[in-house]
Amino acid sequence: MMAFLKLLARNRLALAGLIVIGMVVVLALITPLLPLADPDVTDTPNRFKPPFSEGAILGTDHLGRDLLSRLMWGTRLSLAMGLAAAIIAATIGSAIGIIAGYYGGRTDNIIMRGVDMLMAFPYILLALAIVAALGPGLMNALIAVAAVNVPFFARNIRGITVGIAHKEFVDAARLAGMRDREIIVAEVLPNVLPVIVIAMSTTVGWMILETAGLSFLGLGSQPPQADLGSMLGEARSALITNPHTSIVPGAMILIIVMAINLLGDGVRDALDPRLKSGALSRPMPATTVDRQGAVPAAKTESLLDIAGLRTEFRVRDRLYKAVSGVDLHVEKGECLGIIGESGSGKSVTALSVMGLVASPPGVITGGAVHFDGKEIIGAPYEVLRSLRGRRVAYIFQDPLATLHPLYKVGDQLIEAIQSHDSVSSADARSRAIGLLKSVRIPNAESRIESYPYEMSGGMRQRVGIAMALANNPDVIIADEPTTALDVTVQAQILSVLSDLRRERGLAIIFITHDFGVVGQLCDRVAVMYAGQIVEEGPTAAVLRNPQHPYTSRLIDCVPTLGGGQRKLSAIPGLPPVVDNLPVGCAFAERCDKAHADCRAGPVELVKTEEARKTRCLFPEVVSERSA
């Protein structure tokens, strides 16, 4: 609750809205106590007095009634009506929505058909019909506005409830012995409540407008009683001669509704957890670069050389150092594996190369990437764009999410080709078919017309690979391309990749967390932990004689087929969170060889053997394992 208020207060516009609406509400509450003229007493001789006249600060209306007094009483009534309508509609609508969403099936179907019918009316028609039947009047207008809004709440809340009712914690509650009614109250409702509050706070303003509208039409509050809508309605005939009688109530509605909307947006932002992390910001076309210190030179002559790369995420007051000083290089035609646990910075390293890290919140704060001898971090957008896909291509993890759902795969391939090569569509199309064939998609000519959702996971990933090949790139960066797939399909995809690589002399950076895959596919491997490379070397050597304690213990953790039923060796503890890294060795907390020196200061990645590097003060002795 406190956190919520703090978040709300942080939003200046919402705070302004809160203050304004707070003042209006207080004034409305104390209206009966104020020394105001009677709002309903007519005084025709004094009609249409202009504002700032004596005895009537805001002037008088067409019957000589004091406008200020009517405004205050009218505001009071309008606020009460809007709020009452919102509460009634929210309560009934949410109850219907929760029941339909939770029980699902036929209950849901029947309720929602009814709701759909109500929503098939332009809303005011329903309200007019209700008022027509019940007769014009304040209460009837209130009923009409509330009734018309029930379906909106019902539908909205049902959607949320369906999502929650299928969450695993609901199943867990059932297995813990809870019954439906208890689950609705104790498990579902607390999760739906914020949404109800959001829906209410964003609709109260709307409800005030609607009730005012009915009164404006003469169907709501009846004379002499004033609400803001009826004041405006009565003033309409004198609009041209005495505009102030219209402007006063109209401006008041505007102020109230605007304040409520500002506040409502603030409430929504504060309650919606996705907004809390700043996640709803749009990623820029290229990652922001904010390099401190000198740009390092390339350490090797390789095709792609990453030197001292640092990438951070700046989220509110936190700083996540996802990648802190990575040196990597890949030669022409070579396959480099990057292996590490979740969150170790593999993807961020890979995405940084072509400036694809989501930004905000990502920022590249140091290091250099040399491609073919040229430095490309911080290169102008057009330079990056022409390299992307043409010289350096990517394959991503989840092929369903990474292909555009609404375009045919053929069109997506053709687009990839035409982005860098001005060829005719017919040529591009035949090239696309060729690409599909090269990744062994059966019936390529007809498959080119398929949408991604019509394909299986493996076929989609083949399309992803074909797309990466579209412009004959020099380097392919594959970020866990087979993790989302089943083992049998993974085997098919790996064989496709490995054949293509040999045929085309591609350099591949292959990211994975599976030692088996690295062992089969990669020439060299780099092991990442907490945003740094901790060990690097030829795959066979690293896997056989790991030098860093982390590598060695990680290999032991992984069960391999054929080992039989057994106890596994585990690494105690958890990887460090990258917003709070220790000064010394990041693995020290979990390492059984840790020494005071390890924690004293940064440990460097040093060469231990020909072509091997390790970031450890006490590397494992080779003979330990080779036995």
Partner: protein
């Protein structure tokens, strides 16, 4: 009675294209009628690829999904899912996604108390004492009790999930991919914890996973599921080394292994059949190198071969020559 779980003819079909009234347009058979037993104190592993019906089977076992046909016996008594408070004490479930199985708006203590209160009617002090015991058993610190689920890592959340299942005091646990959301270094911790708990409390596990190596490491026996049906059952120690069913063999050869060269174990570039139009005969026939005409007409039934192995195939691979 030595059977913890006994399934006879258990199956589940889902209607697709539901209408408001009248029958649905089609049925998808998520689990074909199957028979299976799990002995008391045993760990039975179930492997299969995504969509083969693993979770559907698991959910039926704990009463979260009503079976279409067949019967489930738990410790000799037929499962009656009318009252969650009764079967909750006999069989419990550990979920795949540890975070989403905990209600984000409840503290860990509130979550832990539900089964104790609902299933065992313990009073407040008894509940606190019991929670302390269970937390000690799963190596969790008591200070975690007053925190909310989002403050935990996947591994910790999964321990909490296991603790909740233990609180029900069921002797049978269904573990539905309990470590597949976890990192390898944490995965080993949780697997070892499960092994310790089993010994300490004499539990029976049904362990579901898509990772052959993990299943082999924890199970006594393994059942291989393909397209909603069991295709092979046998002792964990040799089912992958000496598979009889071609699909088991394919799985075993597909698992990436250091030192084995990459080569696609299948020549056909095909995947799972479409559940809306299942193939005639053996569901595996489109991918199978040994398929004969009979395979395209008839469905093979699961049958024992006498050596403790059951498989469903007309042209099985040769039994091993017992290589020592």
């Amino acid at each position: 009675m030595t059977e913890a779980i006994k399934l006879t003819g258990l199956s589940k079909s889902f209607p697709v294209g539901k209408r408001l009234f009248g029958p649905p347009k089609a049925m998808v058979h998520a689990v074909e009628p199957l028979d299976l037993t799990v002995k008391i104190g045993e760990t039975l592993g179930i492997v299969g690829e995504s969509g083969c019906g693993k979770s559907t089977l698991a959910k039926m076992l704990v009463g979260l999904l009503p079976p279409t046909t067949g019967q489930i016996e738990i410790e000799g008594a037929v499962l009656d899912n009318a009252d969650p408070a009764i079967f909750g004490k006999r069989i419990q479930y550990v979920f795949q996604d540890p975070i989403s199985s905990l209600n984000p708006r409840k503290t860990i203590r509130q979550i832990m108390e539900v089964p104790l209160r609902r299933l065992h009617n313990l009073d407040k002090t008894a509940r606190a004492a019991r929670i302390r015991e269970i937390f000690a058993a799963v190596n969790l610190r008591e200070e975690f009790l007053d925190r909310y689920p989002h403050e935990f890592s996947g591994g910790q959340a999964q321990r909490i999930g296991i603790a909740r299942a233990l609180a029900a005091e069921a002797r049978i646990l269904i573990l539905d991919e309990p470590v597949s959301a976890l990192d390898v270094s944490v995965q080993a911790q949780v697997l070892n914890l499960l092994a310790d708990l089993k010994k300490e409390f004499g539990l029976t596990y049904l362990f579901i996973s898509h990772d052959l190596a993990v299943v082999e490491a924890v199970s006594d026996r393994v059942a291989v599921l393909y397209f909603g049906a069991i295709v092979e059952v046998g002792a964990a120690r040799d089912i992958f080394a000496n598979p009889r069913h071609p699909y088991t063999a394919l799985l075993a050869q597909s698992a990436p292994e250091v030192g084995r060269p990459i080569a696609a174990p299948e020549t056909a570039e095909t995947e799972l059949p479409d559940p809306m139009s299942p193939p005639l005969g053996c569901a595996f026939n489109e991918r199978c190198a040994f398929a004969s005409d009979r395979c395209r007409r008839e469905k093979p039934a699961l049958a024992a071969d006498g050596s403790g192995r059951d498989f469903a195939c007309f042209n099985p691979l040769a039994a091993s020559q017992e290589d020592g």
